[in-house]
Amino acid sequence: MIFLKRQLPLLITFVTGIVFAAQYYVPHPASEEMLTSVTKWLQIIGGFALILGVTSLFHIHAVKIRRKEPGWGYSFVLYAGMLGTIVIGLWGNGKEVTNGTMTAFGWIYNFMMVPLQGTMFAILAFFIASAAYRSFRARSREAAVLLAAAIIVMTGRVPLGEYLIPLSGDLTQWILNVLNASVRRAILIGISLGAVALSLKIIFGIERSYLGGGKE
């Protein structure tokens, strides 16, 4: 039983890890077919992960309603929104538009999801501006550099900025394409080295936290 609970998962990780790392170096149609198949498999298994997440959300709000915790009425709103969208979406076969006509599911997407999502992110503009006011005071040389770069990019991204300071558009492009690109490249190299190291640790069973703790 210990083998099934502990060693088997590690063995599966090792075998699948080695096989799919090796797959990259085998340019054979069968190897390509295997990659295509396993990509679909991962999507299917990901669907089950979605079930886990949704069940957890259902459980959290069911507990809130059962215990009548503060704000439990909002959990009803959440349930209504979720179940309503699911029923209408499945009824319309998940299509937003049919024969050029907007379906009820498309209506939910256009008149509920898009405004809610857009506004939720748009209000961040106000909070970012207030955070900027507090943190952008040039207390040191580094902070001054950050402030200058942010102002140049903000100015160069709008027509008014380019009208007032004609050079700001070109300067913004240079900052984004050269200076910013160099930093992104260095960070990407660092992250990639870390990802490869972590993948190797997982395959060889050194990193096991993904299996969870507990005696079972």
């Binding site: 699948t16 299917i44 886990l52 256009n110 008149f111 857009g118 506004t119 209000i123 260095a186 190299i189």
Partner: protein, 250 residues
């Protein structure tokens, strides 16, 4: 004006205004819209996942094309649900082991090829060009492929890597390199911040444009009526809050 569009305009305007009320303070209108947003988003994701996974990846290949090999991922995926059975929780480890194993295996060669070697290749470019048999150096900052920009890119990448290299103490030339890296990092953070602010502003302009459009007579001046209703509701809630006795402090 079709009824569904007109009704949609009123709903979209109301929800937009409810979210904007958070700029005053956390309130029931915002919470209502927030919970509705979560519910609708999750419902939308479930419907899309059903259409993609159940219909296109499972039902059609299995029933129409007879691809019964898909029973394997179905079986592995089902093991994840064993988390709900306390005595069989360990079975879910098999599903996680498969996903993590495949993901790690796929990642190693692809990350090395696309993100390490390719990035290094693009960074280590000739610092001087040969034009007509003689060396030349282009100074154009606006051309990302110019020799001057190649030098700046190389200095930027190396200095930022030095900044994150903690295996040796940052003294002498290493300190200078690391400090140069900080300057590059600050410029990049500033640029990222400015870019994000402008992206959020663009979204804000989009929402305000919709509110202005829905204030037109053909939409029944939805924005104006709903702004008045939202302000009235918020004021009533605020007055009610003030009249309530403050909770006892310990």
């Amino acid at each position: 004006m079709p009824f569904d569009i007109l009704f949609g305009a009123w709903v979209a305007t109301g929800l937009t205004l409810f979210i904007f009320t958070f700029l005053y303070k956390d309130n029931p209108l915002f919470k209502l819209a927030e919970h509705l947003y979560v519910g609708v988003s999750v419902g939308y994701t479930i419907v899309k996942a059903y259409d993609t996974v159940v219909i296109r990846l499972i039902y059609e290949p299995m029933v129409k094309q007879g691809d019964w090999s898909l029973l394997i991922p179905l079986g592995i995926g089902s093991l994840m649900l064993a988390r709900y059975v306390p005595k069989a929780t360990w079975l879910s480890r098999i599903a996680f082991a498969f996903i993590v194993g495949v993901g790690s295996g796929l990642a190693i060669p692809r990350v090395i090829s696309s993100f390490i070697l390719k990035q290094v290749e693009d960074t280590v470019r000739p610092l001087v060009s040969i034009v007509g048999g003689s060396p030349s150096f282009t100074f154009s900052l606006l051309d990302p492929a110019s020799n001057l920009n190649a030098v700046i890119l190389l200095v930027g990448v190396v200095s930022v890597l030095f900044y994150f290299f903690f295996s040796i103490e940052h003294h002498g030339p290493v300190r200078i390199a690391a400090h140069t890296g900080i300057i590059f990092l600050m410029i990049a953070f500033g640029a990222a911040f400015g870019y994000t602010v402008m992206a959020r502003m663009s979204l804000l302009i989009g929402r305000l444009t919709d509110l202005i459009e829905y204030a037109e007579p053909r939409y029944g001046r939805a924005s104006l009526w709903l702004i008045a209703a939202t302000v009235a509701l918020l004021a009533a809630w605020s007055v009610k809050q003030r009249r309530q006795p403050a909770p006892p402090t310990e």
